[in-house]
């Protein structure tokens, strides 16, 4: 959702306004606040990274430098399976949600239909309600739907990694649609007319003009979906089945059990992965 506000942040102030000197805000105080904020945001993460190399089983004690935790992490089959599950869920839900979310966004921008506003609110709900509410709703839905289907068909559907993927698709569609829509806000529909005027039929217009121009938005939405999926603990926890742990579920249970300091190492890996993702998304936006 903040992605939307972000993409809207494209420089809109007139050039002359940018040249206006901006002074008299108490630069000193602003600087102190900014330093404080960046320290506040980054010191915990740095500590996490530093202690992932600490040869001590206590989280806050430095016991000399070691790579042991990383070795243990990559030897731990449970964690590695969970990581694999997470990547699988994130990839699958990203692909499906990106396709559907993009189509929804295009449909909503192009067609004005009755009840559009209700549809709007409904679409945005997963973005806005807390994940825990979404989680319990999906849990009830899956358990009831499966009860009904199993009674009718004699099948044996149950919660599994597939239900996690379906749950992630559900909330990711909304996020993708929001991001793609905000990139469509700036889209000049006359470009489509221009393409048609120059002899391109509907398909060629989409292929040569619309799609390349909204591609950064679609990629942004896809990356967002991927990240959100990797990030999610609550919804996965409620909708997963036996043996279908994702990485956050595994990490959470280890944190609660205060069992192994491998968490520092896992966290560092996750942090670096996030860093990579955000860098990619920023590079893509800049290319625009």
């Amino acid at each position: 959702m903040a992605e939307e506000t972000l993409t809207r942040a494209a420089p809109t102030a007139p050039a002359a306004a940018r040249d206006t000197p901006r002074r008299g805000f108490g630069e000193g105080a602003l600087l102190v606040n900014a330093i404080f904020c960046y320290l506040f945001l980054y010191v915990p993460i740095l500590i996490l990274i530093v202690f992932s190399f600490s040869n001590s089983s206590l989280a806050g004690v430095w016991g000399g430098f070691t790579f042991d935790w990383y070795v243990k992490l990559f030897q731990n089959t449970r964690l590695m399976t969970a990581m694999g599950n997470s990547l699988y869920v994130a990839t699958a839900s990203m692909i499906v949600a990106t396709v559907i979310g993009t189509l929804v966004a295009l449909g909503m921008e192009r067609f004005r239909f009755r009840g559009r506003q209700a549809f709007d609110v409904q679409l945005y709900m997963p973005v806005v309600i807390p994940d825990i509410v979404m989680a319990v709703m999906l849990l009830l839905f899956f358990s009831n739907a499966f009860q009904l289907l199993n009674a009718l068909l004699g099948s044996s559907f149950r919660l599994s990694l597939t239900t996690v993927i379906m749950a992630h698709i559900t909330f990711n569609i909304a996020f993708v649609a929001v991001v793609v829509r905000s990139s469509l806000k700036g889209f000049d529909w006359r470009l489509e007319e221009a393409a048609q005027d120059l002899g391109a039929n509907e398909f060629n217009t989409f292929r040569h003009v619309t799609f390349p121009l909204i591609l950064p938005g679609i990629i942004g939405g896809a990356l967002m979906a991927f990240t959100l999926s990797l990030d999610d603990y609550v919804i996965s926890y409620f909708t997963n089945g036996p043996g279908a742990s994702t990485l956050p579920i595994e990490v959470f249970s280890r944190i609660v059990a205060a069992s192994a300091p491998t968490i520092n190492a896992v966290s560092t890996v996750i942090f670096l992965a996030s860093l990579l993702l955000v860098s990619v998304s920023q590079l893509l936006q800049r290319r625009r």
């Binding site: 000049d188 007319e193 221009a194 005027d197 002899g199 040569h208």
Partner: protein, 374 residues
């Protein structure tokens, strides 16, 4: 489309009783017109008058609610834009931002699957034509507004359309660039001989560039004619008011004589003028009198010859505006009339010129005054 010989009789575009409604709003109201081959045709009117909707229907972006639209004799009804032999230059240019200038210009040819070997020379030729020969590699955002405008022109013209549609293409340019582009457009049009349909709300632009102009208001075409006809012989008050400036004096028709009629104002002043449409005695009518067609003379001097209508006035206000002097004269406590006099060396001698409060006689030739009924 190809293969069929155009059945045109020299008519490029024909509209027959075309209506376009958007929901409750009627944007184009029963418009009929014929646009000739090779003509520079302008549609002029205030915003919301239906000129852009008409252009968009010709381009195929909108379809008429009812009526017929023919391009070189072929009915275009629901034909999509990509199957029409017309191209458009958009108001905001609508250049594809992700393509270089060359790729922009080549787009239409590629879509029509023109052989590759033919595309490159035609693109180069089109860019040469708009004097952007060396700009092919650039991207639209790296170019000025005037250059983007030329790219848009090249992109449309490279397809050799039967008709080129221009939707207020000069609106975003500054005054000087506008003048340049006006000349450029005229040059290209006479060079290529293509029919241009030009939509604008700028009357001066329409008057200087067009072979014929259609004046539109509230979805209707009020008058179609050459710039001279539109300016000198407007057929209704709206056209007279919209094009240039005019004094309007209301009265009742007292006397009709051929094309000429005489109206009498409430104050009893009798005014003669030419009536572009037939009028009948007793009807309410308005005299439209352009400020530059009025002579102002001292009371005992003869102004214009005996044909002229005249009445006494008092000079009220004098504004020097460079090429002209604009004088407001008062007829009585309810009515003033604007008079423009071109400045000459003698009128610049301000001491010998009109002074506020002076008595004068206002006169005009009847064929410069228009008696309009609507």
């Amino acid at each position: 489309m190809e293969g069929l010989p155009p059945v045109s009789d020299g008519i490029a575009i024909e509209l027959r009783d075309v209506v376009k409604r958007f929901g409750e709003v009627t944007a184009v109201d029963n418009v009929s017109m014929q646009i000739r081959d090779g003509e520079f045709f302008s549609m002029l009117g205030p915003s919301g008058c239906g000129k852009t909707s008409t252009l968009r229907m010709i381009a195929g972006f909108e379809f008429p609610t009812s009526g017929e639209l023919l391009i070189h004799g072929r009915e275009m009804g629901q034909v999509p834009p990509y199957k029409r032999p017309v191209n458009t230059v958009f108001q905001s240019y609508a250049l594809f931002p992700h393509m270089s200038v060359e790729r922009n210009v080549a787009f239409g040819l590629e879509m029509k699957q023109v052989p590759k070997a033919e595309i490159a020379p035609r693109v180069a030729e089109a860019l040469e034509m708009v004097r952007l020969g060396s700009f092919g590699e650039r991207y639209p955002r790296q170019m000025s507004g005037g250059q983007q405008q030329r790219v848009a022109l090249a992109r449309a013209l490279v397809n050799r359309p039967e008709v080129l549609l221009l939707d207020e293409p000069l609106g975003a340019l500054d005054q000087k660039l506008r003048k340049e582009m006006q000349a450029e457009l005229k040059r290209l049009q006479s060079l290529l001989g293509i029919t241009f349909i030009f939509v604008t709300h700028d009357q001066e632009e329409a008057l200087t560039m067009s072979d014929r102009i259609a004046i539109m208001n509230q979805g209707k075409v009020l008058q179609i004619g050459s710039p001279t006809e539109i300016y000198e012989r407007p057929n209704c008050r709206f056209v007279a008011d919209f094009i240039g400036e005019s004094n309007f004096i209301d009265g009742t028709v007292r006397h009709v004589e051929g094309n000429y009629a005489t109206i009498e104002t409430v104050e009893g002043i009798k005014l003669r003028g030419i009536a572009p449409r037939p009028v009948s005695t007793g009807a309410a009518a308005t005299l439209s009198l352009r400020p530059e067609k009025i002579r102002l003379t001292p009371p005992r001097e003869n102004g214009l010859n005996g044909q002229a209508s005249s009445f006494p006035v008092r000079v009220e206000q004098i504004d020097y505006i460079g090429s002209d002097t604009r004088i407001v004269v008062r007829v009585n406590d309810k009515r003033t009339v604007d008079v423009w006099e071109q400045n000459t060396l003698s009128t610049l001698d301000r001491d010998a010129y009109w002074q506020p409060g002076e008595e004068a006689v206002l006169s005009y030739l009847p064929n410069n005054g228009l008696i309009l009924t609507e």
